[in-house]
Symmetry: C2
Subunit: 305 residues, 2 copies
């Protein structure tokens, strides 16, 4: 039962701390760190790891403990909203694993985080236990500073496990299960934040834009650029190359160039192949056009050791 | 030691015969047919297969034997030049295999073909034993009908193994080793052959165009289009997306649209990833941005069974 886990940590500036978080994950045999991204403006790191379910669960709990030891949200500043030291903890099915299996894993992780670490837990998306907690951004609305007050007085804001008081320095962990998500950003060659915000508004699903797209306009002060920061929640419906074309079109209409694309974490191979086929007008191109993919059909099943 | 082998057979019309050739390849445990193309006008089939070197070698010899049994070149007609029943037999390194290892394999294949099947052998490209035999088209110049005469009298036309007489019905096999080649075509939305020919002339290496590109302009009468038909002999130097951009530019300058791209056989994953990264302005994108590629690093070594 192969599972990916993509914890988001509220630390993106101190390399030693990020290394400590990664070490906590890797300390479990069978958990493999696949990717790591840190952003100083966001002051946030995303570590992608994968392995068999039990190893991934153990790593997730250890990573939460380590984050609570070294991150104090009272001192945290960054442009990205956050509620916890380990802020978001999604479990993602890979291979033949089902989303339901990841929901069960998320619930076990949440129980351990509250019972063993005394950090309150909210469950979101497929693991949500309350219908108004499906959307991550709604659960996190108010962030650490707002929710630690509201959770005390507003029943609908209480954690699913623990609380009503949040942890004084580690906040709460938002634990969930979801299909593969592509965290994809497009940076614009301008410092004008209003342009990124307008493009984000135009493309996001909630405003009637592209389907399965969440988008924010953010400043990247260290680069003197702005960013359209996106989550593509179903790349089969809206893949990165479609978003790139639309953002490029809107940016050009505003007289601004696209500087570059940026990926936070990893993306599935199929999204790459879809983008390639589109760019080269390749109607017959498929996964079976690629030597390595054809060969893999004959390889022994991949087992993660 | 993973090796690809891409035999070209002088039979592209009789499906039962092509199936028999494929069956000869697949009769070896560990040799896997990845792709097959037959063309009736060329009267020629290309079967791509791969596996561990020893299995591939055995399949190559069995395929040569089967081709000699069922193909008589005296009765073969087609627009593509050919010298043998199994006409060309290139060995291609995959994974960590080196070109030198494929040269050694090509030489072993050639020795067995002459010794066991009594079909003369020419070695070409990286496996050439004579400097004037590097280019396949030069080795094959004169074809079956011309070379069976010339080989008897002209020392420079003799096979490297066997001869001077060619096999009376199977001709000779041109055995070689080469890096991965991408057979890539771009179809133009015009029936004007002069435009495809002019673009082919402009981009081919031999005319000072793009490096590592062979190109021809061809008519596609059934589609009322023309084609720039290419071999990309080193996709790390000139990948498909660079060719696509240049052909698109030249076509646009001639007032013609690109209809579509077309692949003959297979292409390596890296060429797909390079094209995707370019299309989306993704400077940081690499193989390690793809979930499946990262996971494969932790999988038990792929063994082709």
């Amino acid at each position: 039962m192969l599972v990916e886990c993509v914890p988001n940590f509220s630390e993106g500036r101190d390399a030693a701390r990020v290394a400590a978080l990664e070490a906590a994950i890797s300390s479990v045999t069978g958990s493999h760190v696949l990717h790591r991204t840190s952003d100083a403006d966001h002051n946030r790191s995303v570590i992608t790891f994968a392995g068999e379910a039990e190893a991934v669960l153990e790593s997730a709990v250890r990573a939460t403990a380590r984050a609570a030891e070294i991150i104090d949200l009272n001192a945290h500043r960054g442009v990205h909203p956050r509620l916890g030291a380990l802020d978001v903890l999604p479990f993602v099915p890979l291979g033949d694993t089902t989303l339901d299996e990841c929901v069960a894993l998320a619930h076990r992780a949440g129980e351990r985080i509250w019972r063993e670490l005394h950090i309150p837990v909210y469950f979101y998306q497929a693991a949500a236990r309350q219908p108004h907690r499906t959307l991550l951004e709604k659960v996190r609305h108010g962030q650490f500073e707002g929710l630690r007050e509201l959770a005390l007085t507003d029943e609908t804001k209480r954690p699913d496990l623990g609380g009503p008081a949040l942890h004084p320095t580690a906040g709460a962990v938002i634990v969930g299960a979801r299909p593969i998500l592509i965290a994809y950003n497009i940076n614009l060659a301008t410092a004008d934040l209003s342009i990124a915000k307008a493009i984000a508004r135009a493309i996001r699903t909630s405003n009637g834009g592209l389907p399965c797209v969440k988008a924010l306009g953010l400043p990247l002060e260290s680069r003197r650029q702005v960013q359209v920061s996106m989550n593509l929640t179903d790349f089969n419906i809206t893949p990165p190359h479609v978003v790139f074309a639309e953002v490029s079109r809107l940016a050009a209409a505003a007289g601004v160039a696209v500087a570059e694309s940026e990926l936070i974490g990893l993306m599935p191979r199929k999204a790459v192949e879809m983008g390639f086929a589109d760019a080269l007008k390749f109607p017959e191109f498929s996964s079976n056009s690629v030597i390595e993919n054809c060969l893999a059909n004959y390889a022994k099943p991949n087992s993660i050791s």
